[in-house]
Amino acid sequence: MTREMLITTLRHHLGSRYVLHRREELMLYEYDGSAMDQALPDVVVVPGSTAEVAAAMATATRLGFPIIARGAGTGLAGSTVAERGGMVVSLARLNQILQIDPQAATAVVQPGVVNTDLSRAAAPYGLHFAPDPSSQRSSTIGGNAGSNAGGPHCLKYGVTSNHVLAATLVLADGHVVRVGSAVSDTPGYDLLAAVVGSEGTLGIMTELTVRLTRNAEDVRTFLAIFDDMEVAGACVSAIIADGIIPAALEMIEGEGIAAIESWAHAGYPPDARAVLLIEIDGLREDIAAEARRIALVCQASGCRELRTASDAAQRERLWAGRKGALAACARIAPHYHILDGTVPRSRLPEILRRSAEIAAHYDLKVVNIFHAGDGNIHPLLLFDLRVPGTRERAIAAGAEILRSCVEVGGTISGEHGIGIEKREFIPWIFNVEDLSAFTDLRNVFDPTGVMNPGKLLPPPASLSSLHASQPSLRLPRRGAWI
């Protein structure tokens, strides 16, 4: 009855075309990019304006339905999965770039704009949007902001929160406010800082003002080849300790190298134990000097070979390997559980060794493809769902690896978010008082608790037992997809 009322009211506000409620329609929205969690929403709305977002949210709140914002659905932590049913708000139709200001190097965009589309539109002005998650060809600016997305070039340029200046935010009750400002240091609390990365738990952003970054004068990309994973890890630390902040510093290790090579033909030596993809950018004199220093550090670290991409085509070939890495790993095993932890950079060799040990203990293959310069590891635990018990082993091994990240002074998520996947690990890093302050913040924005409930923070005890009694929640009902 209430669901019918919800649908009827939403159709009244948005028109029936943009209110999806049939099972086969809803099934398209039951998972995110990880396929680890699935749940059917009660309804999906596809609003075409801030006013429609507000009307839909006010309706859902009034009728007590959870509200879940969704961009392209490429998230990896279950943040956009409608675990308790409710209304998914797809921002796909809000996909316009409203303004690019080349002088101020800013853009005003709707949340559904695809990440690379913004950089493409800014290219004629010599600008780009710096956050570059691997999903950037499909993920949206709104989703990037909601999850505070990272990417390879965040090493030098910072994560999404460093690039969002202001947003129009719709609160649960449909109230529309502006948070942040394109003007520097406006008086008042920095509410935007809390909203970016809040995984849709504080409100829904319907318009964003973002910073654009000037394209560098010169770019150089290197491939450093190693026979030993820990030596490669130490080299990463040595580059940073030498005072070089590359634009990107990525590592691929283990069997992933050969798998990527046979798929992407990026020129990675299949017998290497680890490769580093190092990119520096800036003014040409600075680049020439840094290139010399990188060569020296790599040599001193015991690098087998250092190759330099001599032109844009070679550079793209090197990057194609990195960006296609996840797909390539399907050649090793059909399913994966991708982790996302961060450690102090100096602890990289240790955490790489530890993840290999843990994976071996659980009889799983592990490939590390990650943002080494940031200390942001992405162990990819590979398995075959058809083998009973492997998925559970992958989840257990994943938890143990993240626990190790915390033990060496790191954290449980560098860029993918907490969502459903990692909420139970939150108490490893935050105590009851810390969590009470987070809950306070959430209640200020969403006093009735309808915004993406259950995500980002650990469940209260009652929910935890519910979760345990329903293990099926974390079991894909129709197989994972890659």
């Binding site: 200001d101 002088q103 101020a104 505070n148 990272g150 965040c154 910072g158 994560v159 460093n162 406010v177 003007v183 520097s184 240091d185 406006t186 008086p187 008042g188 609390y189 920095d190 800082a193 809390a194 970016v196 990365g197 000037r214 394209n215 004068e217 630390s237 940073i240 005072g243 070089i244 902040i245 003014l283 004199e285 600075d286 020439a288 000097a289 961060t342 102090p344 950079r345 100096s346 943002h371 940031d374 200390g375 002074g409 954290t411 449980i412 998520s413 560098g414 860029e415 978010g417 990692k422 939150i426 935050f430 008082e433 810390d434 009470s436 302050a437 987070f438 306070d440 913040l441 200020v444």
Partner: protein, 420 residues
């Protein structure tokens, strides 16, 4: 002046906790008894926010000054909020690193006080603001809860970034006890170009060109004649002592890249009719410290203005006319890349300041700009009616109040000094 005296008000207690836990305990007690608390670092920013409504406890933060962890290879530093920025920079310098943050009076000002008061400096042009460099914090909330957020690693999305809420909040949500920063390698070379212009249009045109590729200045400040004269270090470099508009622009990197930008920068400025002076590398850090200190508190009122970059010219015209029409002497500072402007007015009566500020705000409103009284001298604060320090509140004031109420329910932190 008596220590911890604020606008002629004296605290009944001075407390200097030696641990975050002890500090939280002080706040818990104060919250339950309704005692008003004013956190104190070096006191360099206490001119922001005006007189408190009540003042019972002076909370001296300077005993929480330990460097808790510093791993140079990780470029991460964790430090007590009572440490001075200068102390931190000195330590980082031993490893050829720095926090690219240059507010006034770093050897007196504390990390916590600078963050709480939203202090920035000219380096924001090249490196962003402290918000971008703050990885984690421990904060004692107004009700005495000791909480942390963020993580001591450069990339983290666990939990809400609540630490950033305390930056610029003037300690009204909680008292910062500990901060973890990302730090940066020091550039190999820094060099500065000074250029003296006679035309405001020409200096703005040069500024515009010097922020376009290939230029990558890390700092740029434009000063009017009064401001440059008030800075003896800067003034000593100026060969022509006539009251010109002065631009200081700083480049960093390898000698080659810095040299190329300086050469091209000279060409741009000369083309715009300026007289240029290339400073030696040896003079670089002293000149920038002197420029940063220009914005220290003095006996005059200091106004901060922010506008969208696209309205910079209109704003400059409007802020020029206000002291001009009144015959006040004024020092002007424009912080490049940020759309931030500071004016120091020689005004001694609140009856004169209030209408000038109102006129300024009326001119800024259609541009989307704002004006804040960055430093209110004691003499002006003790006149009636009180000056509106923060201007019109943002539309999110209700959310802000609700947040403050939940973290500082008794309203004990810096009461009456912030817009929330």
């Amino acid at each position: 002046m008596t220590p911890f005296q604020l606008y002629n008000q004296q605290p009944s207690q001075i407390v200097a906790p030696t641990s975050a836990e002890a500090l939280a305990h002080v706040l818990r007690d104060a919250s339950s008894t309704g005692m008003a608390v004013i956190p104190w670092g070096g006191g360099t920013r206490q001119g922001l926010g005006g007189p408190p409504r009540r003042y019972d406890i002076a909370l001296d933060m300077r005993s929480l000054a330990d460097v808790i962890a510093y791993t140079p290879a990780d470029l991460v530093l964790r430090v007590g909020a009572g440490a001075t920025l200068g102390q931190v920079q000195d330590l980082l310098a031993t490893h050829n690193q720095w926090l690219p943050w240059n507010p006034p009076l770093p050897h007196q000002a504390t990390i916590g006080g600078l963050l709480a008061s939203g202090a920035t400096g000219s380096l924001r042009m090249g490196y962003g603001t402290p918000r971008d460099w703050t990885l984690a914090m421990q904060v004692a909330l107004g009700d005495g809860r000791l909480v942390k957020s963020g993580a001591p690693v450069v990339k983290n999305v666990a939990g809400y970034d609540t630490h950033k809420l305390h930056i610029g909040a003037l300690g009204t949500l909680g008292v910062i006890t500990e901060v973890t920063f990302k730090v940066a390698p020091r550039p190999a070379h820094c060099q500065t170009l000074l250029a003296a212009f006679s035309s405001p249009l020409a200096i703005l045109e040069a500024m515009n060109q010097l922020t376009q590729p290939p230029f990558q200045p890390i700092s740029m400040v434009i000063m009017n004649g009064n401001a440059s004269k008030a800075n003896p270090v800067l003034h000593s470099f100026l060969t022509d002592k006539a009251p010109h508009l002065i631009m200081a622009v700083r480049f960093a990197g390898t000698a080659g890249a810095v040299g190329r930008q300086i050469r091209m920068g000279v060409a741009v400025c000369v083309e715009e009719g300026a007289h240029t002076i290339e400073l030696s590398e040896a003079d670089d850090s002293s000149i920038w410290q002197a420029i940063a200190d220009d914005l220290r508190p003095t006996e005059h009122v200091l106004i901060r203005v922010g506008v969208p970059l696209s309205h910079l010219r209109t704003m400059l015209r409007s802020v020029d006319s206000i002291p001009h029409h009144r015959g006040w002497s004024t020092e002007h500072y424009l912080i490049g890349g940020a759309g931030l402007f500071y004016a120091r007015w020689s005004v001694s009566a609140i009856a004169d300041l209030a209408p000038a500020l109102a006129e300024l705000r009326a001119g800024l409103a259609p541009l989307g700009g704002y004006a804040v009284v960055e430093h209110l001298p004691v003499a002006l604060a003790n006149q009636q009616p009180p000056i509106d320090i923060w201007g019109p509140p943002p539309e999110t004031l209700t959310l802000m109040r609700s947040l403050r109420h939940t973290w500082d329910p008794a309203g004990i932190l810096n009461p009456g000094r912030y817009l929330v």
